[in-house]
Amino acid sequence: MISIDFLLQGFGYALNPFNLLMAFLGAIFGTLVGVLPGIGPTAGIAILLPLTSWLNPTPAIIMLSGIYYGAMYGGSTTSILVNVPGEVSSVVTALDGYQLAKQGKAGVALAMAAISSFVGGTLGLIGLTFFAPPLAEAALIFGPPEYFGLMCLALSVVVSLAGRRLPKGLISAGVGLFLGSIGQDPILGNARFTFGSLKLLGGIDFVAVVVGLFAVSEVMINAEKVGAVVYQKITRLYPTLQELRQSLGAMLRSTLTGFFPSLLPGCAPGPISFLAYDIERRFSRHPEMFGKGAIEGVIAPEGANNAATSGGFVPMFSLGIPTSSALAVLLSALMIYGLKPGPMLFKERPDFIWTVIASMYIGNVMLLILNLPLVGIWARIIMIPYHYLAPLVLVFCFIGTFSIRNNLFDVWVAILFGLIGYLMHKLKYPTAPLVLAMILGPMLEQSVRQSLTISGGSVYIFISRPIALGFLILATFAVILSVWSRLRLKPSNLPQSGTD
């Protein structure tokens, strides 16, 4: 009941014209990011994050969140019409979506994808509304040992983000932990790894690293492979009532499949969309139609990835754990604005948190409108030649990184990490664990040092506190489960580099 009261207040703020505009811009940019192949939600948020620095935290996070869930809508458009998935979670949508388009049913496939995305996203938000506050309430009793356990659980995501290559994922995370320790020691204030540079004393700017790793490197990688696309015409757009009724079961199943796994670390929308497709095929009366143009093959991944997107906000807002790389960047955005994600956020800034959640409900409605009648416009955006788009992206990266502190040093950092990201991609090192570890590293260090100071140097403190022990057991279980499922699956079925 309290959640509903807060949510209604949040709607009051979210319906403010400026917040509405930000939600709308987030939906537009998100759809654009989803439509354009090669620029995923992580890169999209990274590019626009510095440009939002002039905004207040609430409208900025409303817009950046809009990019994340908007990308899930946009990704399906190009998957269906041109067989080019805009981002990872739409890869599986292309299997049946493009087949339907070739059969002259592109309009129905697009409409069903949008409606399923709306249902999945909105039901996921209802889950967020009711699950996040009690989780945050329970986390209020946490002390440094419990936070240490929580950070270990969050870092266990590295195993699933590592994709096929666990040692490489661990190396990537190690580099992230090292980067996070550059600058002033959080407790004693000593300079570490600054080599006498005053610019490094405040640490390496996180936004510059993210822009370099995800945006600059992405442009460099895509510059190597520019190809032509074949575009399918859009026919009848709106589905009949009977078609909608027949699809309702698939929509609800995919929402459940998407929402609950997304509460666990490492379950990003990409892999979840594959899981939902597989479950729907098992439930179907005509499994042989999957891959040849089954409408459920479009509904399931789209509903699931949107429900997972909403669900991912539950651990992020209530515990400060990002479950995917895009949420890790969003988490860093919250920290840049001086907001510490975690249990205290619900207590200290309920106005902020509930306005953002309310804006997501509104954003989902905006996205449904943007993605139904205007779908043809989005589809044509893919026709923008990459030789114009790539330089524009780089200009925005440059100006965005520069504008944070009006400092060219940050731009050089972004370029350096662009090169590092490119080399990591070529050498098949996942980049997401680096980002996650860079965010969590300082918090992990602080909690472990505070805990050991409390206990006088005894590590027994981590196992003598039941909640800390519970998190450590969960983290161990998550790692074992990820490694075990990796050993069971064929290498071809594992994501290349996790959930980048």
Binding site: R192, H387, L394, V395, S403
Partner: protein, 149 residues
């Protein structure tokens, strides 16, 4: 030597370097209530050293090694990066607007654009629009250069 092995050996070196640097910061001892700044980075460096060794041995043993990037693709990426570096260098010297227009012009040409009307209109239009929105409206202190824009 395969790229994977070289990368893993670099990680070994990095881990070793971080560990040595951390020792100079002081690793400390909680038993004696001596807290030091190097403890956490030392553990990170040691972890990187071990993971790097593990990866290097794995890359040596198994045949599915990652090869070096193809020359043609890598060259295009390197050229793009080179243009970006020149752009940042020119930023202070000739001003944001002119540097941006030149960057867009040359990078579009590098990536295969051949329609001069399109290239010029996008380069000049974007540079001017960015200067107006970011510099004039949002107040970001963009470098003005000798021509005042």
């Amino acid at each position: 030597m395969k790229a994977d092995v070289v990368a893993a050996l670099f990680v070994v070196f990095l881990g070793f370097f971080i560990s040595i640097m951390s020792i100079s910061l002081g690793v400390g001892s909680f038993e004696r209530d001596e807290e030091s700044s190097g403890m956490f980075p030392f553990a990170t460096g040691l972890g990187l050293f071990i993971c790097g060794l593990f990866q290097a041995l794995g890359s040596w043993r198994y045949p599915d090694l990652v090869s070096w990037p193809s020359c043609k693709g890598a060259l295009k990426a390197a050229e793009l990066l080179g243009i970006l570096i020149v752009y940042v260098i020119l930023f202070r010297g000739i001003g944001y607007t002119l540097a941006t227009a030149l960057f867009l012009l040359f990078s579009s040409l590098l990536l295969g654009a051949r329609n001069w009307w399109g290239i010029l209109s996008i380069s000049i239009g974007t540079a001017l629009l960015c200067w107006y929105i970011l510099g004039e409206m949002l107040g970001i202190p963009l470098s003005a250069g000798p021509f005042g824009f």
